[in-house]
């Protein structure tokens, strides 16, 4: 008897549930693509799209950024949300692939999001910029930093990660602080290290510093002794290595072995704990330019603890920027007083003094960071220490 009764209840309940969801989705579905502001008005929530790689080779970074964003959203909602409404997020998997990114962007737009936050792979970000711009959706790009994003920006896109230009700025600033007058640049001839070395040379010359040499080494070659002698003979007082850590560690060792006593600075391609391990005792005192990693940011301590508590792992390389990006958007939504795309874009443009984990955010005319967010680390006692 009781069993029959139970099953009857279950069936009724299931039927009811089905009919409710069926009714719920049907009328709202056609309205979402046409009017982005409609669901926020009716549901009392603000939908934000997160285009991130959730599958493929870059999936770990995408997942890490999504975690950081969701952590921020929970914090914002716990404090009452934005303009009285709760934030919700929808993740679109771009798989770090231009085609899939376009499909994901169209999906996010049709879901009725009012702003876009995310973007890890530059190749997947660039083709989607106009899709969002057509709907006047502001896009805060958190990690991707190819120069193509700034040059193809249709007006809705804001970059909060530093670019090669920003790294150069930080490098020149550091050289000045160290009192270097005769800088030697060493690169490897690949697009990345060559670009950084050339930009630095230009900036140093513009600032009136002397570049005593600009050398190119062959990737995989182990012997730098003749280069070291050459640099010493030119009396370089600072050596800037712009390529990756493996060969960088060899150069550092051989510079010290050859009796070079000046400063050594390496670019972000060498900002890897393996640099310390491989350069050994010679690595002490080396300066390393690095993107803002949570581990070394004093402001990110609380964030890192919260992240660890929630996800049971340490935040990854781009988690602080992901966290900053969504908070910046919430800040802009408040200042715009609503979710109108044009108003939010204007509010983002006018951002001044927004304090994120990675530092203060303000935008230059090309909507990249006005001031570099690169940080300087120094190897001390076999560890990276923030300068």
């Amino acid at each position: 008897m009781s069993r029959k009764f139970l099953s009857l209840v279950t069936v009724t309940f299931l039927a009811l549930a089905l009919s409710v969801t069926g009714c719920g989705t049907q009328p709202s579905a056609p309205s979402t693509p046409s009017a982005p502001s409609a669901p926020t008005a009716s549901g009392g929530e603000i939908k934000i799209g997160l285009p991130l790689p959730m599958t493929g080779s870059e999936a770990t970074y995408g997942k890490d950024m999504e975690n950081a964003i969701k952590l921020a959203v929970d914090e914002i909602n716990a404090k009452g949300g934005v303009n009285g409404k709760k934030l919700t997020t929808i993740t679109g998997d771009d798989a770090c692939d231009p085609q899939q990114a376009t499909a994901a962007a169209n999906k996010l737009v049709s879901e009725g999001v009012v702003a876009i936050v995310g973007g890890y792979c530059s190749g997947a970000v660039v083709p989607t910029l106009t899709i969002y711009n057509e709907k006047n959706l502001p896009y805060i790009v958190e990690a991707a930093n190819s120069s193509k994003i700034a040059t193809q920006n249709p007006g809705n896109t804001f970059e909060i990660n530093g670019t090669a230009v920003h790294q150069t700025q930080k490098a020149v600033e550091l050289f000045k602080k160290l009192g270097a007058t005769k800088v030697a640049l060493v690169e490897q001839g690949d697009a990345y290290s060559s670009d950084l070395a050339n930009q630095t040379e230009k900036a140093l010359k513009a600032a009136g510093s002397t570049v005593v040499s600009h050398d190119v080494t062959t990737k995989g070659e182990q012997d730098f002794s003749s280069l070291v002698t050459s640099l010493k003979s030119k009396n370089a007082d600072l050596v800037f290595w712009t390529a990756y850590y493996a060969d960088g560690a060899l150069l550092i060792k051989q510079l010290r072995q050859g009796g070079y006593k000046g400063a050594i600075v390496v670019g972000d391609g060498s900002s890897d704990p393996k640099l310390i391990q491989m350069s050994g005792a010679a690595g002490e005192g080396i300066y390393v330019l690095s993107p803002p990693v949570a581990e070394y940011l004093p402001a990110a301590k609380q964030f890192a603890d919260a992240y660890k508590a929630k996800y049971n792992q340490a935040p990854g390389a781009y988690a602080p920027l992901a966290y900053d990006g969504i908070n910046l958007l919430a800040d802009a939504l408040k200042r715009a007083g609503g979710t109108d795309g044009k108003a939010v874009i204007k509010a983002l443009t006018d951002t001044s003094g927004f304090a994120g984990l990675a530092g203060k955010v303000a935008f230059a005319t090309d909507k990249t960071l006005k001031e570099s967010n690169f940080i300087v680390l120094q190897i001390k006692g076999g560890k990276f220490v923030l300068q």
């Binding site: 040499s213 050398d215 995989g220 010493k232």
Partner: protein, 309 residues
């Protein structure tokens, strides 16, 4: 800051070139010996050097805890690596080359087999090491002799002296022992040697052992000297050593030694080139080598097809 005069720069660069050149020479010897005896360009030789570095790394890891990571530990690791990699060279010869030699296969087939061995070795090590760089940690410091601004560390001196010792032993082995005599005889005429009762296959095998052991010694020394090793480290040095062997006259043992030193010295000179800078180093080096080979196609000490080794 102390200004280095031209004199000191030249001295320091000569020292640099000598050290770089001695690595090239050690590897070039193996190329030259194998070519001398079976006319095979053994393109896997650079990878044998790389395997040598990794075996030495492993041996130092095991014995370093007992013997320390100073010169004693390094010497033991070097000898172990030379022996094991020598055996590897013999194995490669037995598996990949001897069956083709038995069938009197065309030279081109042997060459492609060598390329195959090269890929097998470096991909194998890549998989085993996850493609990571390994730090070769030793307790060697930077102490040394200073002549004005010229620095020569004790490590550098020991590297050059050990290379010289290895080469002298090799010279004695080739010219003063029965095995060496057999190698030279095979280089002259294999069929005649067979008729005279010389075990040709065994002697070729021995040549692979000696050549591979020398490459392994160079690999361990490079690991100790530069401090890090990588599965791909054999590629560039393989090409350079091959070049050195050709400049010296491929097949000639003193030629390989000389070729390595010349290449090392030219490269260091190229780095210090006035006006153009180090980006042109390789263009300078190989430009001179082209001129050299055009004027003497058999290499400096190479004899045209009369006697090798």
């Amino acid at each position: 800051m102390h200004v280095m005069s031209l004199f000191y720069i030249v001295i320091q660069q000569l020292v640099n070139g000598l050290i770089l050149g001695s690595f090239y020479s050690l590897v070039a010897l193996g190329y030259s010996m194998v070519y001398g005896i079976i006319k095979l360009l053994n393109f896997a030789h650079g990878d044998i050097y790389m395997v040598g570095a990794f075996v030495g790394f492993g041996a130092l890891g095991i014995f370093g805890s007992i013997l320390g990571v100073g010169w004693l530990g390094i010497t033991v690791a070097l000898l172990i690596s030379m022996f094991l990699v020598g055996l590897l060279g013999m194995l490669v010869h037995r598996i990949a080359y001897q069956p083709l030699l038995n069938k009197r296969a065309p030279r081109m087939s042997l060459l492609i087999t060598a390329v195959g061995v090269s890929f097998t070795l470096f991909n194998g090590v890549m998989v085993m090491t996850n493609g990571e760089y390994k730090a070769f940690s030793t307790s060697l410091g930077y102490e040394g002799i200073s002549l004005g601004p010229v620095n020569i560390t004790y490590t550098q001196i020991i590297m050059v002296v050990s290379t010289a010792i290895l080469m002298l032993v090799l010279y004695w082995f080739i010219n003063r022992t029965m095995y060496g005599k057999a190698m030279r005889a095979i280089a002259l005429d294999q069929d005649a040697c067979r008729l005279m009762g010389i075990n040709v296959t065994k002697t070729i095998s021995l040549t692979f052992f000696v050549g591979s052991a020398l490459a392994a010694a160079a690999g361990v020394m490079a690991g100790v000297y530069y401090g890090s090793i990588h599965f791909y480290m054999g590629f560039i040095i393989g090409l350079k050593a091959f070049t050195a062997a050709v400049i010296g006259g491929i097949g000639s043992i003193p030629g390989a030694m000389l070729g390595g030193l010349i290449l090392g010295l030219l490269e260091t000179a190229g780095t210090q080139l006035p006006f153009v800078g180090s980006a042109w180093k390789d263009v300078f080096t190989f430009g001179i080598l082209i001129l050299l080979l055009v004027s003497k196609p058999t290499g400096i000490l190479g004899k045209s097809e009369i006697e090798r080794m």
